[in-house]
């Protein structure tokens, strides 16, 4: 019986131990051309051209130096350049115009021609309608703490009739504690789930996963993503909660873009979140690409910014 008892833990350890081993699976070669560019008004078109590499191995994605880039608009060749700049990009002199559609074609030896098309969305405006309030608590030793409890309301003015997506981010600024002249910045987290009194329905809010009318974003993100699906051709207001501890004005930035960038943005978020799980527990997600015969993204955007001033209320503590 004693022998049996000794045998039990030995055998249990044997069977419970799993093993991991590197594995070689024959996969198709995935060498491909990668084309990336975001275009906006008043800035020349600048394109990054890279090589994609097989996943397994030591190689990493590299710039392709000897490609040829051609830019077209309405079927007309605007410019063609060869060779990469010293800053590793292909910079053209073509400055996009709002509403125009541009097509790029990239040729490089050993790769098929890659093409992609993008349009620059029109300019939008952002206005702060209601600012938040900040309380500054000053301790007897001069130590200051801040607490924001206010809500922010902004208006987004973009009267396009096309489907647009908006990415709202807020940058807060803080004095660096050891050196008051040094100001640090960080992205703040708008708390949309605390939002009230929406002039538009909840369905305007696109969560990072679903376009469902009754789904709310509850995971903490440092952005709000929304679309004009229900207010095309009109303006809208957006109210959200914001917690921060600074009296320095924050920057509110709203980036507008089309569905191509939206798909890229969402798929990248999904890939990052799905990579946290093993392949055993979830299906991986591919990052969206609109490049024919390659990978990458060519998309248009436009930006609008506004300053968020906080009303400061100072409280002195004994």
């Amino acid at each position: 019986m004693h022998r049996f008892i000794l045998l039990v833990p030995f055998l249990a350890v044997t069977l419970l131990s799993s093993c991991e081993k590197e594995i070689e699976l024959k996969t198709k070669s995935s060498k491909c051309i990668v084309v990336n560019a975001l275009i906006t008004e008043n800035e020349p078109i600048e394109v990054g051209v890279y090589s994609g590499v097989d996943f397994v191995g030591r190689n990493s994605s590299q710039w392709l130096e000897n490609a040829t880039l051609a830019v077209y608009s309405n079927g007309e060749l605007l410019e063609e350049i060869s060779g990469m700049n010293t800053d590793s990009s292909y910079r053209t002199s073509v400055v996009p115009v709002v509403g125009e559609t541009y097509t790029i074609k990239v040729d490089c030896q050993r790769y098929p021609s890659a093409t992609a098309t993008a349009t620059v969305p029109n300019k939008l405006q952002v206005k702060v309608l209601q600012t938040d309030s900040v309380r500054m608590f000053v301790e007897s030793d001069g130590y200051k703490t801040y607490k924001s409890s206010g809500e922010v309301e902004i208006s987004i003015i973009d009267t396009t009739s096309e489907l647009r997506y908006y990415l709202l981010t807020i940058t807060g600024y803080y004095y660096f504690m050891k050196n008051p002249d040094d100001i640090k910045s960080k992205w703040l987290t708008p708390e949309y789930n605390n939002a009230t009194a929406q002039p538009t329905s909840m369905s305007d809010i696109l969560t990072h996963l679903f376009e469902s009318a009754d789904v709310k974003e509850i995971e903490e993100k440092d952005y709000i993503l929304l679309s004009n699906q229900n207010w095309r051709g009109k303006s809208t207001t957006l109210r959200f909660g914001l917690s921060h501890n600074s009296t320095i004005p924050s920057d509110i930035t709203v980036m507008s873009f089309d569905e191509e960038y939206y798909k890229y943005f969402i798929s990248k978020e999904l890939q990052l979140s799905s990579e946290e799980d093993d392949l055993m527990f979830g299906e991986p997600v591919n990052i969206y690409s609109n490049v024919k015969n390659g990978l990458g993204l060519f998309a248009g955007y436009n930006l609008a910014t506004a300053k968020l001033y906080s009303v400061c209320d100072t409280i002195y503590k004994d």
Binding site: L11, A12, V13, N36, S274, D277, M280, N286, L295, G296
Partner: protein
């Protein structure tokens, strides 16, 4: 339209004529009764009962049969696998009721297994069936010493296993939730112990298990791919018997016997004691690390009980109960960042089923069965962290808990009406209430200085109540001596969220006997499924969610056609079957969604279609000292979802192109028997990372293959076992030895991507890794039966 009236009248006349014929048949004498095991008094379902005239039938689930005859005397033959053939002449003057007791062929000195049921199967329109007796299951090699019904079924053609060593059944390209698993008529929603490595079914409590893969009779419904109907033993009505077994990781006891002349019982209890090993491993780890202390424990328990009471010669009452629980917990206390960090985790899941059943022979040719059935599944998980400061009484904590549950209550009644020797009609109805509470979760955090913040995330969940009403009718129809059919229809109304889904499901099976050794068969069945399991993983995790059809999630449906041929020799049974199954409204998680993301579960899902088709071959030897089978499946299983894989068709992760099992059992003597099982199959499908590239943000991202584009390496393993039985003064002792995966094949459980080195230095190396479990698992157990 008047010209149609004569046709209508003619049909009415024909129907009336049929009824008159039926009544006229009823005027003849019937011989009816039940078939029992002589030793235990257990009723024997599916026993082959036939007259010398060639008229034959099989007993129903309660051992009942009935014939009509106008002969003054009949020779009644009864056969059942593992039992001696019963043959007796009866003089028939009136309606006659008999009780037939079959002797087990174990009582013979020679240990030679005989199979009389192969001929019955040859003539039956019911095919698409996995035939393994409990006796065979008891001889098969085991994992961890546990004889497992589900694992035994995986050796049958058309039945695949999921990940290595798991009990999940993947029948004809279907997912595990498409299997209706019934324990005494009660659905079992999570049939897994030990995270899927063992099933909840204790073989000591089981009388029979039948797996249907297609050609479903109308009495079964609610799932698309298979029905596994498990009947618990009733308990020995003549003598008290029992067993006790001790194995490497679990032990069990079972007792059965008579309470009085009319009542018998069965009780089994099984408990695993992984606790001891995990505790030991934690202590070793603590001693090695020298920092903090940890402990972990896991165990499962199963409790089966059944009581069977004969009210009178015509009626019987059964009550059966099953409760199974798995509990895992871990705790660790270690210092970190000026705090004493206390980490706790608990995971618990349990199944409960209860069946109260009343049988009555209403007339010599009419049998009634009424049941009240309850089933419940629940899982609960809680994790918490508390940090106690080393320097003050300050502490901070956070905890998260989640649970999911579902509950069924069903009332049903069905009737077996032996209308004539060539018509046995089964009809019945049931009403069920279902309660689903998926994904209830809550979070709590706070500290000794702050208020506790409680976040109840049940807004992302939705409790759903639903009800269904089903009715069926089927006829076992002997059209001619060599042509039999089972035709029927099932209809269900499923009500949920003020919406009613209705289904009408026609079923038909046909068997044509070409000669005494050869038959051909064909079947069609339409199935509808109103409950769904959503799972990210290829293993059966307790956290997988059972969800009902709702307004957004439509019921799944399938249409399956199958054809087969069976050829019998005195020792061998050969079958070949082909099938084609089309499935609609299948559900999967949307891209990037998983059960852990905090969403309303309906919004995580997307619907699509599927097809599977293939051929299944089997050769089985059930007679002689050496028995066993070889089964081979060649199949395809595909899915198409508008929102997945760019709308393109992709292989299902349950697709196995080739699957071969060879099972051999040899009985040297009554003292010693051995068995082996070798399985080889195509690897599971998997989506792999295939490229790395620089994305728009300048980061290195990964491009994946199309969904399930690649296969894992070939899967194969050999299991062996040996049993040594020794007769003792008070019973029989059995030592069982076995090895699972004898040659230590490292079959992948899953594959993941990894890297080593540094991206910035360019020295980063990316690779794929496989995780294997159960590379070689020895087993030893000791069982004593009295």
């Amino acid at each position: 339209m008047a010209f149609k009236r004569p046709i209508v009248m003619k049909n009415i006349f024909l129907i009336l004529l049929l009824f008159v014929c039926a009544i006229a048949q009823a005027q003849k004498h019937t011989i009816s009764g039940v078939v029992r095991d002589a030793e235990s008094g257990e009723l024997l379902p599916s026993a082959n009962v036939y007259l010398n005239s060639g008229v034959g039938t099989v007993t129903n689930n309660y051992g009942f049969f009935s014939f009509t005859t106008n002969q003054p005397s009949v020779v009644l033959n009864v056969s059942y696998v593992g039992y001696n053939i019963f043959r007796q002449t009866f003089t028939i003057k009136n309606d006659t009721t008999v009780e037939i007791k079959l002797d087990s062929d174990n009582q013979l000195e020679e240990v030679v297994v005989t199979d009389n049921s192969a001929q019955s199967r040859l003539r039956s329109p019911q095919f698409n069936m996995a035939n393994i007796t409990m006796k065979e299951i008891a001889q098969l090699p085991t994992l961890l010493g546990e004889h497992d019904v589900l694992k035994a079924m995986q050796t049958m053609p058309g039945v695949g296993s999921g990940a290595d060593g798991m009990t999940g059944l993947y029948v004809r390209g279907g997912s595990p939730d498409q299997n209706l698993i019934l324990l005494d008529g009660a659905p079992v929603y999570n049939a897994n112990h030990l995270f899927g490595y063992l099933s909840v079914f204790n073989s000591e409590a089981i009388k029979s298990a039948t797996l249907l893969k297609g050609g479903f009779p109308a009495r079964y419904g609610g799932r698309l791919s298979s029905v596994l109907d498990i009947q618990m033993k009733e308990g020995n009505a003549n003598q008290t018997h029992g067993m006790a077994s001790i194995g490497l990781l679990s032990s069990q006891v079972a007792v059965e016997g008579p309470i009085d002349e009319r009542t018998s019982y069965l009780v089994t209890l099984r408990r695993a004691y992984f606790d001891i090993f995990l505790w030991t491993m934690c202590k070793i780890s603590d001693a090695r690390d020298g920092v903090g202390k940890s402990s972990a424990g896991y165990h499962f328990t199963d409790f089966n009980a059944k009581i069977n009471h004969r009210l009178d010669s015509k009626s019987q009452l059964f009550a059966s109960f099953y409760a199974g629980t798995d509990k895992f917990k871990s705790r660790s206390d270690f210092p970190g960042g000026g705090y004493d960090v206390r980490d706790r985790f608990k995971l618990k899941w349990h199944n409960q089923t209860a069946t109260l059943r009343y049988n009555r022979t209403l007339a010599n040719n009419l049998f009634m069965n009424a049941s009240l059935i309850y089933s419940r599944y629940k899982y609960y998980t809680k994790s918490s962290v508390k940090n106690n400061s080393f320097y003050s009484d300050y502490y901070q904590f956070s905890s998260a808990k989640g649970e999911s549950a579902l509950q069924d209550l069903t009332a049903k009644a069905d009737f077996d009406w032996y209308v004539a020797n060539n018509h046995t009609v089964k009809a019945g109805a049931s009403i069920s209430r279902h309660r689903f509470a998926p994904e209830q979760s809550a979070y709590e955090s706070g500290s000794s200085k702050w208020e506790t913040a409680v976040s109840d995330t049940s807004y992302g969940t939705k409790k759903v109540k639903s009800a269904d009403l089903s009715a069926f009718i089927e006829d076992n129809w002997t059209i001619a001596d060599n042509l039999k059919a089972n035709v029927g229809v099932r209809s269900t109304l499923f009500g949920v969220e003020n919406r009613v889904y209705a289904s009408v499901e026609p079923r038909a099976s046909l068997c044509y006997l070409i000669n005494d050794n050869l038959s051909v068969k064909a079947a069609y069945s339409r199935m509808t499924q109103y409950v769904h399991l959503v799972s990210n993983s290829s293993v059966g995790l307790p956290t997988d969610q059972w969800l009902p059809s709702t307004r957004k999630i439509k019921p799944e449906t399938s249409d399956q056609i199958s054809v087969g041929v069976q050829y019998n020799t005195p020792e061998y049974e050969f079958t070949a079957e082909g099938f084609y199954k089309k499935m609609d409204n299948l559900i999967e998680f949307r891209e990037g969604a998983n059960y852990m993301s905090y969403r309303n579960w309906e919004d995580k899902l997307t619907a699509g279609k599927g097809t599977s088709y293939g051929i299944e071959l089997m050769a089985k030897r059930s007679a002689g000292r050496t028995t066993g089978w070889v089964s081979y499946t060649l199949s395809w299983s595909n899915r198409r979802f508008a929102e997945l894989n760019g709308g393109e068709r992709f292989p299902s992760k349950y697709d196995r192109r080739h699957d071969l099992s060879i099972v051999a059992m040899h009985t040297f003597s009554k003292k010693f028997d051995v068995s082996a099982n070798w399985n080889i199959s195509s690897g599971s499908h998997v989506t792999l990372p295939i490229a790395r590239f620089t994305d728009l943000d300048g980061a290195e991202s990964v491009a994946y293959s199309k969904r399930n584009e690649y296969r894992m390496p070939l899967y194969h393993r050999l299991d062996v076992s040996a049993n040594y039985h020794k007769r003792r003064r008070r019973g029989t002792a059995t030592w069982s030895f076995g090895v699972y995966n004898l040659y230590a094949r490292q079959n992948p459980l899953y594959i993941y991507a990894d890297s080593e080195g540094n991206d910035w230095s360019g020295e980063n190396r990316h690779f794929l890794k496989k995780v294997s479990a159960l590379t070689i698992v020895p087993t030893i157990s000791y069982t004593f039966r009295f």
